[in-house]
């Protein structure tokens, strides 16, 4: 039988160490909404999303009450819209109408984000893919809840450099359209390599075409719990350190598994995966950076950071895999800057640079995330940064992503304020030496040699 110390341990994790379930995300396939008549597409999308997800938020609240654990976000991901609108949309503006429909549906069911305003162009882009990408700045400016992601590369296909070039321009245009709010539109746009089909985390969530009609994916979090556990083993060797992270990750993930199963049962939608992630928030004590400090670094960015992050990421996976029957999504430690107070402090202290963050993305679960840079950064420079990050993903068979925010009107040292879970960020310097000629080449980078495994 459960004893009092176990009960106290669990409740202290929830109450004092910010243990929560970060998101229950319902993936909904919109493939059956495809039509050549745009009005019919919009109508079908609205109907399907609001029918499938009508009880999502209420169910999340019931689960919170039953177990006494906060479920911070309830969200929806849909099939990449470039596919759904391909028969009906003839202009970028046509795609924007679908973005508005998604936004309206999100409002109706009460979710805070709906992801899947996406295109998968890792090898090439269709006409519809290009129209969707060109519609992104407007779509993100006229909606509040819609998130967009573009997959521009994979280990199997190489990198679509035409898309990389275009997205540099699109990110700047998106920034410009939301310049009154510190270019927040860019916080809802992610560029991926090896994007997973079942990621529950925003802004990069979409419901892949390999998925069933509907699915429940859950993202767990709890950097504060790991940090607290590591405080107990200060000075111990790496074996002890890793064992502690692993055990803690196991406990955190078990809660995610329980919530995912319960949500799936109550909503009568199949359980997909648990995403084992350490996802920070700007709240004190909810920081991945603080874990790195507890491991022994003055600030993230100091020598040793990549090794510390690598072991953290690996142990989180080792502990989490046994705790859940199906693991997927991004799974690992997130290292966003604006969403993590410890990372912000490291930037302000002059310890953390964009280049070190790039190195860290080789071993973390995602990539360059929520980084504010000067608004006058050139489109080709953005494309160059994206290309570097995509190459890391392609060569290392991992997911990488870029979510950069060129904050229009702000310079190095200024602060960009995004608010809420997105936090705030100091504007970081970017290497401005030119890569114009590189980006201008066009075409695609072929798949790496180790992708030929057949």
């Amino acid at each position: 039988m459960i004893n009092i110390s176990e009960v106290i341990e669990t409740n202290e994790m929830i109450e004092k160490e910010n243990l929560d379930v970060r998101t229950i995300t319902m993936g909904i396939s919109l493939l059956d909404c495809i039509d050549s008549d745009l009005d019919k597409v919009n109508e079908a999308i609205y109907k399907k999303v609001t029918t499938m997800a009508k009880d999502l938020v209420a169910t999340g609240k019931k689960i919170e009450k039953s177990y006494g654990i906060p479920i911070v976000n309830k969200r929806i991901s849909v099939t990449p819209i470039a596919l759904i609108g391909s028969a009906a949309c003839k202009t970028p503006e046509d795609f924007v109408t679908i973005a508005k429909t998604l936004d309206k549906a999100a409002n109706t069911v009460g979710v805070n984000f709906i992801g899947g305003y996406s295109a998968l162009v890792s090898k090439g882009a269709t006409k519809a893919d290009n129209l969707l990408i060109r519609s992104i700045p407007e779509a993100l400016a006229v909606t509040n809840h819609v998130c967009s992601s573009i997959n521009v590369g994979s280990s199997k296909t190489g990198i679509n450099m035409d898309a990389v070039k275009l997205l540099g321009e699109i990110i700047l245009e998106t920034a410009e359209k939301s310049k009154d709010a510190d270019s927040i539109g860019c916080a809802k746009l992610v560029v991926f390599c090896n994007a997973p089909d079942d990621n529950p985390f925003m802004a990069g969530a979409f419901h892949g075409v390999t998925e069933s009609d509907a699915v429940i994916n859950v993202g767990v979090s709890g950097p504060g719990v790991v940090k607290k556990a590591l405080e107990q083993v200060r000075g111990a060797d790496f074996g002890t350190l890793c064992e502690t992270i692993k055990k803690t990750a196991f406990k955190i993930t078990r809660v995610g598994q329980l919530v995912a199963k319960e949500a799936s049962r109550m909503l009568n939608v199949p359980f997909g995966i648990v995403d084992l992630s350490l996802a920070p928030t700007p709240a004190v004590g909810d920081s991945v950076a603080e874990i790195l400090q507890e491991i022994g670094l003055e600030y993230p960015g100091a020598p040793g950071t990549t090794a510390a992050l690598a072991l953290l990421n690996d142990q989180v996976k080792k502990g989490g895999v046994m705790a859940s029957s199906y693991v997927g999504g991004l799974s690992g430690a997130f290292i966003p800057v604006s969403e993590d107070q410890g990372m912000i402090d490291a930037v302000n202290a002059g310890c953390l640079t964009l280049e070190k963050l790039e190195a860290m993305t080789c071993v973390c679960s995602v990539g360059l995330d929520m980084i504010a840079i000067p608004g006058d950064t050139k489109a080709s420079t953005l494309s160059g940064i994206i290309a570097d990050e995509m190459a890391i993903g392609m060569i290392n068979n991992k997911t990488t992503a870029v979510r950069l925010i060129p904050v229009i009107g702000k310079k190095i040292g200024d602060i960009a304020e995004f608010g809420g879970l997105l936090g705030y960020a100091p504007i970081m310097p970017v290497n401005n030496f030119s890569c114009d000629a590189f980006i201008q080449r066009g075409g695609r980078i072929p798949a790496p040699i180790h992708s030929f495994k057949n």
């Binding site: 459960i2 106290i8 654990i69 598994q257 329980l258």
Partner: protein, 90 residues
């Protein structure tokens, strides 16, 4: 059997257990086990209870227990047992 864990945390004072037990008995909640301890000067009590005999649903019990807690100045939580089982048992 519908096992739940009721926890009471707060400054120790006369009648905490009595108040909580009175409420539970009035609502036909059967107490299977009680334990208590003091952590950092705070009174911590845990009850394992069976709520299947209660006419009220879990959510109603939860908010009413919260109110009982407010009356006596302690924090009362009711949670389904699975969360602890999942976390601490393989």
């Amino acid at each position: 059997m519908n096992k739940t864990i009721i926890t009471v945390v707060g400054k120790d004072c006369v009648g905490i257990i009595a108040k909580v037990c009175t409420y539970l008995s009035a609502n036909n909640v059967n107490i299977l086990d009680i334990s208590q301890t003091i952590v950092q000067d705070f009174f911590n009590m845990m009850m394992i209870a069976d709520v299947s005999g209660s006419a009220k649903d879990f959510y109603q019990l939860s908010s009413e227990l919260e109110e009982v807690g407010q009356e006596i100045g302690v924090l009362i939580k009711i949670q389904r047992e699975d969360i602890f089982d999942m976390m601490h048992r393989i």
